[in-house]
């Protein structure tokens, strides 16, 4: 487990990690710089929000003028969503100050008044809401339908020499997504997932993840996770517009869709809370 996306980038480049979840613009920028990685799947959809102090002076988007907003990286969708919203309100990047901050630090920074707002993925918006000092100003989907944040990237040498291992990984994520988003069982399964992911993987309070996964149930979605050309075209255009990508880049250059195509036939895990194993 890492605490920030730049560390994941370094671990992938040094081959300490062979695959990783990172924000989509970072993956595209790395590929554009010649780093041998490809996006093979999405981690989730939606699940990012701009959060302000609950009892603070910011009530509308226009109130963000002149304020400091924390973002996870300049190569993040959380930065791009702020630009998208700024544009929609007739403002520009010059109207706010964006600072990069490790995701686990933003809620504390907002509570301490070190920043005025943050644009971040879950569970940090939930953390600020749950603790009572934060309020969601807007969710990413309000300005960006089909919003994507984290993607799964894999080193090209692993794709070339171990495609079966990559397929197992992608199939597992696809099955987990279907399992989490099965409509009649969504609530119970998400609560169960929050419990074991919080305890055994994220080392976070399960109640926090329960909040992020269920308030409301579509706050974060885990399907469809196939990387689509039209969704990435929006990201690339915004990256070019905001100066973090200096050349056009073809979809095929940074996405390898073969694993997602094969995963389309997968079905959800056969597992219910309380079962000893999943099949």
């Amino acid at each position: 487990m890492f605490q920030g996306f730049p560390e994941i980038k370094e671990a992938l480049m040094s081959n300490k990690m062979q695959a990783g979840f990172m924000v989509a613009p970072m993956a595209i920028a790395l590929r554009a710089q010649g780093v041998p990685i490809k996006i093979v799947y999405l981690g989730h959809r939606y699940g990012s929000a701009v959060v302000v102090a609950k009892n603070g002076p910011i009530h509308t988007f226009a109130d963000l003028r002149g304020r400091t907003i924390a973002i996870p990286s300049r190569y993040s969708d959380e930065r791009l969503i702020v630009f998208k919203a700024l544009k929609q309100h007739g403002m520009s990047g010059k109207d706010v100050k964006m600072v990069e901050m490790a995701p686990p630090d933003v809620a504390g920074a907002l509570a301490a008044d070190a920043i005025d707002a943050f644009s971040m993925g879950e569970p940090y918006p939930s953390q600020a809401e749950m603790a009572g000092f934060g309020r969601v100003l807007f969710h990413a989907r309000e300005y960006w339908p089909d919003y994507i944040s984290c993607v799964l990237v894999v080193r090209q040498d692993v794709i070339d020499h171990r495609p079966e291992a990559v397929q197992v990984l992608v199939d597992g994520i696809a099955r987990s997504g279907l399992w989490l988003d099965n409509p009649p069982r969504r609530q119970a399964r998400r609560e169960h997932a929050a419990d074991f992911v919080g305890r055994y993987y994220f080392r976070q309070n399960p109640a926090l993840l329960r909040w992020a996964l269920t308030k409301p149930l579509d706050r974060v979605l885990y399907q469809p996770l196939t990387p689509l050309r039209k969704d990435f075209a929006v990201i690339v255009d915004l990256m070019r517009e905001t100066g973090v990508l200096d050349r056009p880049i073809a979809f095929e250059e940074y996405v390898d869709p073969q694993f997602a195509e094969r995963a389309k036939h997968e079905t959800e895990w056969r597992y219910e809370p309380g079962d000893a194993t999943a099949q």
Partner: protein, 49 residues
């Protein structure tokens, strides 16, 4: 002279052992000796949903 040499040798052995235990990731070394198909696929993530 013999005593100085043995202290220096002991120091060298202790420092080398400390370096090998603290600075070398033996899991990575073991992993790299395996055939590609048998190597573990390490997946990096941060605690976001």
């Amino acid at each position: 002279m013999k005593r100085i040499a043995s202290i220096a040798f002991g120091w060298l052995v202790a420092i080398t052992a400390a370096h090998l235990s603290l600075n070398v990731d033996w899991n990575v070394v073991r992993e790299r000796r395996l055939p590609i198909a048998k190597r573990k696929l390490n997946v990096a993530y941060i605690p976001v949903t």
